[in-house]
Symmetry: C2
Subunit: 223 residues, 2 copies
DNA sequence: GGATTTTTGGAGCGATGACACCAAAAATAA
DNA sequence: TTATTTTTGGTGTCATCGCTCCAAAAATCC
């Protein structure tokens, strides 16, 4: 019942151990698993689907990754690391003002959500929203990740307030909640086959809700 | 493999048949199933969970509803009928203009998504987005429902253009896609525990993206 | 009351899911 | 080479899933 997080040996990449070296590349296998989870979610991905996509046997799977749940944890972390690259690069780009950062975030989102080389949309946005009670661990973790990205947005906005990009009476938490919701909506649209252009335009429309800077406090680019 | 939609006898409500009458109320049982599907999704809800929540045996289930998939179909139709009540009542309220209709739609959404007497969020918005390939039927159906509500929004906007509520160069399909995305995002936020007030405020922010009426064409309430 | 019709409980079935184990194979250190 | 360490394929296991069948029970009509 309680899943044992027995992750076997799990040697590092550049090991120089004694025994037989693994014939598969751990990173590649993890990547394959990530894409499958991304496409189908946790419950929608079976053990057999996983080992087939990863090209390894059940025992190798067990030795290297411990369990399905442990692998899912690794896969989501791997996804977040990848997605965090472009997400935070844009969000924290010091050369652009706050509004531009969010506009570019949605441009990038439109592109990333519709690329042909990986599943559509976002691995996190919709994960663990509809699941059985036994998946509470997964569900809570996903909600936590979503809350994290939302608070990162709010943080950026607070920086914008400090910069003068945003009026001081801006409710950053609420504004971030709004843009977070738009991002989740984009993920659904992407799943349903919306084109990059459509997502891009939705993002542009969402930016029209951006609060006007206070008249007496002229907002310029961050210097 | 191919699910037989053998729905047994499935007598009407006010039947006066010959044999033993069913001891359970079909509508009540269907409602219980709907809420379970709403909460957990299709794959997250097991047969045993269903018959337990519905208070019937496996055979009664099979006799009355045919199969899990058929029941899910009934449950979603039942949900759509219920949700369509308030959705279309507001969307097509002839006494308010287009912008007000959408503002009220989001107010109602905020309230309905966070009520205590049924699961949080929307049964359709997030359904079938992360699932195994075998669930293609469900997935496509859900995407179809989502597209339907989006096109209903677009239709209302076109009426608004005709009424003069919206400028004639409004891209109604795109604007509807945007508000549809916001609605999906609200569903995720609701799932993650956002309060009614938070959803309400997100809706208000979303309304700030509403296009301004053309200066030369003054928009008044529909008369 | 008897016949008929329908529901109900319970048992069981084949398939799948996720894991667990084991002995053979392979690579390195000594 | 030998011993040691680790991977690997194959097989087995236990639970769950969704469904199916059957005979008993119950209610109606005649």
């Amino acid at each position: 019942m309680t899943p044992k997080i027995n992750q076997g040996t799990k040697l590092e990449e550049g090991r120089r151990g004694r025994g037989r070296p693994a014939v598969f590349d751990r990173g590649t296998a993890l990547n394959a698993a990530m894409k499958l989870f991304w496409e189908r979610g946790y419950e929608g991905t079976s053990f057999d689907d996983l080992i087939a996509a990863m090209g390894i046997s059940a025992s190798s799977f067990y030795n290297s990754f411990g369990s399905k749940e442990a692998l899912y944890g690794e896969a989501t972390r791997s996804y977040l690391e990848w997605a965090g690259q472009w997400f935070f690069a844009i969000l924290n780009d010091p050369s652009i003002d706050t509004k531009t950062a969010f506009a570019r975030l949605f441009e990038a989102t439109a592109e990333e959500f519709t690329r042909g080389d990986h599943p559509l949309g976002c691995m996190i946005s919709l994960a663990g929203t509809h699941c059985s009670p036994g998946m509470k661990n997964v569900r809570d973790k996903m909600a936590e990740y979503r809350a994290f990205s939302e608070s990162a947005m709010a943080e950026r906005m607070r920086k914008g307030v400090a910069n003068g990009d945003l009026s001081e009476d801006t409710d950053c938490d609420m504004l971030a909640a709004y843009y977070s919701a738009v991002a989740r909506g984009l993920a659904v649209q992407a799943r349903d086959g919306a084109s990059r252009e459509k997502l891009s335009e939705i993002g542009r429309l969402a930016m029209r809700a951006w609060p006007a800077a206070k008249p007496e406090k002229r907002a310029g680019p961050a210097s």
